[in-house]
């Protein structure tokens, strides 16, 4: 029993880790206050669910779902290229509301408020422990990939643009293209996390992809510290585990949900006030 619960937590940590490091790329490295990240998570989850419900093989569904999510990242980057700070935050937030409204209302495809159930999981991953290993393999690959590209020329450029876009532009860099790629890659990995989430839970509905779910992900990135990937790993573990003791205090599940949200929201406010750079952050949220 404890074992199953422990594995469940570890899988959640793995999925949130991918979400956290992918947001780190756009929010930390790119300095883009992207509040639409949860929408990419949702797009990935729904795309994966629909593909695998229509009989596509598992690996292909994951890949295509992540690419679709990346494409939406590109789609969002086109009109928002020149926006910054709170205006960008609002457009990306608006984007996540559009996605939510479509998921909720396009009943014939998405199942509306009832969501999509019985999402298949391949037989070789039917055991949760094996699924755990699979999630961690993907998480490690994602981590290495993102930390690698952040160390390359691309990473230096996107940070340069964050710090001084005009200077980067005057050096002849195509800043819009680089920012756009940052968002695409970030969305791709969020979609990947969404696919894993859908195949793990085997049931998704629009309520998993709202503003409420955005708070813990933002919290992970901010507690970890902007542009710190090791910090993000630590923060993911902390953020996923923090509300868990609530379960052992004998609260009913209808109380745990809101309590968990309150805890996350309070923590977010406290952190950005007292320790805005989190564990290992090097820059401030602008």
């Amino acid at each position: 029993m404890i074992d199953a619960y422990f594995i469940h937590l570890l899988i959640l940590i793995g999925i949130y880790l991918i979400l956290g490091i992918s947001l780190q790329l756009s929010l930390g490295y790119g300095g883009l206050l992207n509040l639409g990240h949860i929408a990419f998570f949702g797009i990935g989850a729904y795309a994966f669910a629909l593909l695998s419900l229509h009989g596509f093989p598992f690996a292909l569904s994951i890949l295509v779902a992540s690419i679709i999510s990346g494409l939406f990242g590109w789609l969002l980057s086109v009109p928002t290229k020149k926006l910054k700070g709170d205006y960008l935050a609002l457009v990306t937030l608006g984007f996540s509301f559009v996605v939510y409204a479509v998921l909720l209302n396009w009943t014939s495809i998405t199942g509306g408020a009832f969501g999509l159930a019985n999402i298949p999981r391949p037989s070789f991953l039917s055991d949760n422990f094996l699924f755990l290993l699979f999630v961690y393999a993907i998480a490690v690959i994602s981590y290495l990939f993102i930390s690698r590209i952040c160390g390359t020329r691309f990473g230096k450029l996107i940070e340069a643009i964050r710090d001084d876009e005009l200077a980067a532009k005057s050096l002849g860099k195509n800043t819009l293209k680089i920012k756009s790629w940052g968002l695409v890659i970030s969305a791709f990995f969020a979609g990947l996390a969404g696919s894993l989430f859908a195949s793990y839970i085997t049931f998704i509905d629009p309520s998993s992809f709202t503003l409420t779910t955005l708070i813990p992900i933002l919290l992970i990135v901010i507690i970890g510290g902007l542009t710190s990937l090791p910090g993000t790993v630590l923060a993911t573990i902390v953020v996923v585990l923090i509300p868990e003791p609530l379960r052992f205090l004998g609260f009913s599940s209808s109380v745990i949900g809101p309590l968990q949200q309150i805890l996350y929201a309070l923590l977010l406010v406290v952190i950005i006030y007292y320790k805005p750079r989190g564990f290992y952050g090097k820059i401030d949220l602008e």
């Binding site: 608006g94 909720l104 503003l211 933002l218 949200q261 929201a265």
Partner: protein
């Protein structure tokens, strides 16, 4: 055909008036404080539940309850500014930080309502009969008439307040340039507090009317603040007049949109409008270009 048109017109005006009440307060706060106070939606939710609690659970007279609800909303908004935003401002936090904080507070207040009152919808017993009346083929309820009248009334009183009174002028001065206003002896912190108090009082009125027109649910805060926010963006964020006009436009667009797509897509229509305005005309219909970055 004409009766459908008129019905959609009326529905649009009623919806727009509710959005306008949310947007007016929100926009007033934005105009002086220059950051997006999303937690405004949380103030609506908590105030609506407060009204439910004192009028239905405690059985207080509806009109007294309404008055207390407006006081409650005013106090809540005022304290959010004092306890939270003022501290952040003192640390020279960026607008993005304030935005993230206010989104967190919105979720906090909604979850708090969910925790205290549960997920089931609550309704408030009406003090007056609310049978819909048939006026020339168009159905209207008395509450809907009251909603439209109150928003019109608030619209004109706000304009008067902003244009004629000393505090209104101080608010406009701070909105325009808070440093110059400070030099001229206007305390911007005091103006911030005042706009939070007035903006939240207006949203207290909105909370009462929404509670009468719809059911009360914990999640209505997010949806109302998005609508109010969309209305203010359409009208020009930071312009109170614009916020009200923009909200009416939004209400009408949503309802006439149902002529073409199913009613479930109302929200999508609103968000797409928001999207279009943020991208193509971020200064809105009445906004000041200088307010933009």
């Amino acid at each position: 055909m004409t009766s459908i048109f008129l019905q959609l017109l009326v529905n649009g005006l009623v919806a727009g008036s509710i959005y306008a009440l949310v947007a007016a307060g929100f926009s007033l706060i934005y105009s002086t404080n220059k950051f997006v106070h999303f937690a405004h939606g949380g103030v609506i939710v908590l105030s609506s539940y407060f009204l439910y609690w004192i009028s239905t659970t405690l059985g207080l007279d509806f009109y007294i309850s309404s008055f207390l609800t407006i006081l409650f909303a005013t106090f809540l908004g005022y304290s959010l500014n004092k306890v939270l935003y003022q501290k952040f401002r003192a640390k020279k936090a960026s607008n993005s930080v304030l935005l993230v904080a206010s989104v967190a507070i919105l979720i906090l207040l909604q979850s708090l309502s969910l925790l205290i009152f549960g997920a089931d919808v609550k309704t408030i017993a009406l003090p007056l009969s609310n049978h819909s009346m048939n006026i020339g083929g168009v159905f209207v309820t008395p509450v809907q008439v009251i909603i439209v009248i109150i928003s019109l009334f608030l619209f004109f009183s706000l304009r008067l307040l902003m244009q004629k009174t000393k505090i209104g002028k101080a608010m406009r001065a701070v909105a325009d340039n808070n440093e110059v206003a400070e030099i001229l002896g206007i305390s911007s912190e005091r103006v911030y507090s005042t706009s939070f108090a007035i903006g939240s009082a207006i949203v207290g009125v909105a909370a009462i009317l929404v509670s009468l027109e719809q059911n009360i649910t914990p999640l209505m805060g997010t949806s109302l603040i998005i609508k109010g926010f969309t209305g203010s963006v359409i009208g020009g964020i930071g312009s109170v007049t614009g916020a009200i006009v923009g909200s009416l436009f939004l209400g009408l667009a949503e309802n006439f949109g149902t002529w073409f797509v199913s009613a479930g897509f109302k929200d999508a229509i609103a968000f797409i409008l928001l999207f279009i305005f943020l991208l193509i005309k971020p200064q809105g219909l009445f906004g000041n270009k200088n307010n933009q970055k």
